[in-house]
């Protein structure tokens, strides 16, 4: 019998699983579970976008596309980035269409990182940056962002972690799971450090259309001098409710995009063709959908924030993405205990904050990609749960 453990790649074997599997298994076996745990929109892909995907199938447009993605799509992406975030990218050489934002993140890290290079990763954040760094032979260096700073990355926290080996900074804002955003001033402070220490930046802006309360999202590469240091990652999943279409993109210096394309062409060939047709429509005629969904999310955000504060779970006001990240310290429970007790006693599923890094301990992630009725029901159950503690 083959001992697979002894033959597989050591790094892959050593990567820790996310650890909340057990927790979701519980949720799946229960009836009447109210979940506030998923990280994807409840809205369907807008019909006019789905229709373009259908037309592509009907017309038999099911072959490979160019490795970088259709030029037409890259042109539309360039126009979209200019229109929404005032950043100019040349569609011919500076944009690559990928299989979701995640592939773009993976490619960017693999292209930039030599063994031993350090990658700065603010946490709490989405779970992929650390394993992707490890797979590339890099060394993840965690920066713990703090609730008193509303989980923004500060100049001092960044400066503190920089060594001679630091190569890349990951900027995951608007942030999953905290809902934190980085305003222009915050980013300018980061840019100064980046310039001073000659760093590169992977700016994961997948939630860029979902910011609330006035200040629109600022793309890191729109800051003076940062475009040449930044790989901007974005996609269609959150902005246009297109998670299952598996489509994202990277925009950056042509030298890096060209190397990323080299990896992409060998591993992926080209992103899904029907999805690309749909995405062209999303970029051209989807701005109203974005505005509509943002308005709906914003109302739910305020509803859930108000509800949580009312029932005694302290919560800073998240200005982005579709999560709230309340502190559960007042209950005296750990994040894992809180979530397990909550699901067993009230059948409400939320995600323990430490799933997103050790600094998430003492918090839970609550998603508001759910209907208003679903949210109010969950709030009532959580309130009852807290009273019984």
């Amino acid at each position: 019998m083959i001992d697979y453990n002894s033959i597989v790649n050591n790094t892959v074997r050593a990567i820790k699983p996310s650890g909340i599997r057990k927790f979701f298994d519980i949720a799946n076996e229960m009836e009447d579970v109210i979940s506030l745990s998923v990280g994807e929109p409840d809205f369907h892909t807008p019909w006019h976008i789905r229709e373009e995907g259908i037309f592509a199938l009907e017309k038999g447009r099911t072959r490979y596309t160019p490795n970088r993605g259709f030029l037409k799509l890259r042109e539309e992406i360039a126009s979209y980035l200019k229109r929404h975030f005032q950043v100019a990218y040349e569609p011919g050489q500076e944009i690559l269409v990928t299989v979701g934002g995640s592939e773009a993140i993976d490619l960017c890290v693999r292209v930039l990182i030599n063994p031993g290079d350090e990658v700065l990763i603010p946490e709490p954040s989405f779970v992929c940056y650390v394993p992707i760094t490890q797979m590339a032979g890099g060394v993840p260096v965690i920066i713990e962002t703090k609730p008193e700073n509303e989980f923004r990355l500060t100049e001092e926290e960044l400066e503190e972690k920089i060594t001679e080996k630091t190569k890349l900074l990951v900027l995951p804002y608007p942030n999953n799971p905290t809902g934190a955003v980085m305003g222009r001033k915050d980013l300018e402070a980061v840019a100064r450090v980046v310039e001073r220490h000659n760093l590169m930046v992977l700016s994961d802006e997948i939630y860029s259309t979902l910011t609330y309360g006035g200040e629109p999202h600022v793309s890191f590469s729109s800051l003076p001098g940062m475009k040449e240091r930044t790989v901007l990652v974005n996609g269609f999943s959150k902005s246009h409710s297109m998670t299952g279409w598996r489509l994202g993109y990277a925009a950056g210096p042509k030298e890096l995009i060209s190397l990323m394309t080299k990896l992409h062409q060998f591993a992926i060939m080209s992103a899904p063709t029907m999805s690309q047709y749909a995405a062209i429509e999303a970029m051209k005629n989807g701005d109203e959908d974005i505005a509509y969904m943002r308005t709906q999310y914003d109302m739910r955000r305020r509803l859930i924030l108000d509800g949580l504060n009312r029932i005694g779970l302290r919560c800073f006001e998240p200005k982005g993405a579709f999560y709230v990240f309340p502190s559960i310290r007042s209950t005296g429970l750990t994040s894992q205990e809180f979530c397990e007790k909550l699901i067993y006693s009230k059948h409400v599923a939320v995600v323990p904050g430490d799933a997103f890094g050790a600094s998430g301990e003492g918090f839970v992630r609550i998603s508001y990609c759910y209907s208003v009725g679903h949210i109010t029901e969950a709030l009532e159950r959580i309130e009852a749960f807290l009273k019984e503690l």
Partner: protein
């Protein structure tokens, strides 16, 4: 306050408390209470209903859409006839339409033959009604913005992508 937004939310979620509405809209609760009172008084908010799928109950109920062609009166136009039509408690809604007919009337009754008799005896005989065409509703797929047909009801297929 964004009046349209309050109305849009209420149209979908009439059961929310004024405190919840205020939170969602980023307004003070007292302002929401005042605004709702104002809309009710001004006849903008006309009532709060429950959407019931009668097909799933044991109750006998039939619904029909009736197209009425009428000749408008010289002074009162369509208003007078519409007024007569809507006086009947069997009549659920009356719309003035553009196109091939004038009034679209929704009628509910216990059975289809009740409705047919009602149209023949009550509506067709109104002075000024030229013709009627009765279309019975066989099933309601969607009503009031809500999907009724269980085959088409939303199933949340989203899972966690953090599992492994």
């Amino acid at each position: 306050m964004a009046m349209e937004q309050l109305l849009e939310v209420l149209q979908k979620e009439a059961k929310l408390s004024t405190a919840q509405l205020a939170a969602m809209l980023g307004e003070k609760e007292e302002d929401v209470i005042k605004a709702i009172a104002r809309y009710e008084k001004a006849g903008i908010i006309k009532g709060y209903h429950t959407l019931i799928n009668w097909e799933n109950t044991d109750a006998h109920r039939a619904t029909a859409l009736i197209e009425l062609r009428v000749s408008p009166k010289k002074d009162t136009g369509f208003d007078e006839i519409a007024g007569r039509v809507m006086n009947f408690s069997e009549v659920e809604s009356v719309y003035l339409m553009s196109g091939g007919y004038d009034l679209a009337v929704t009628v509910t009754g216990k059975t289809m033959s009740d409705i047919a008799m009602f149209v023949a005896r009550r509506l067709a005989t109104i002075d000024g009604v030229l013709s009627t065409a009765t279309h019975f509703v066989l099933t309601k797929y969607k009503d009031g913005g809500v999907v009724f047909h269980s085959d088409y009801e939303e199933i949340d297929e989203r899972g966690s992508n953090l599992c492994d």
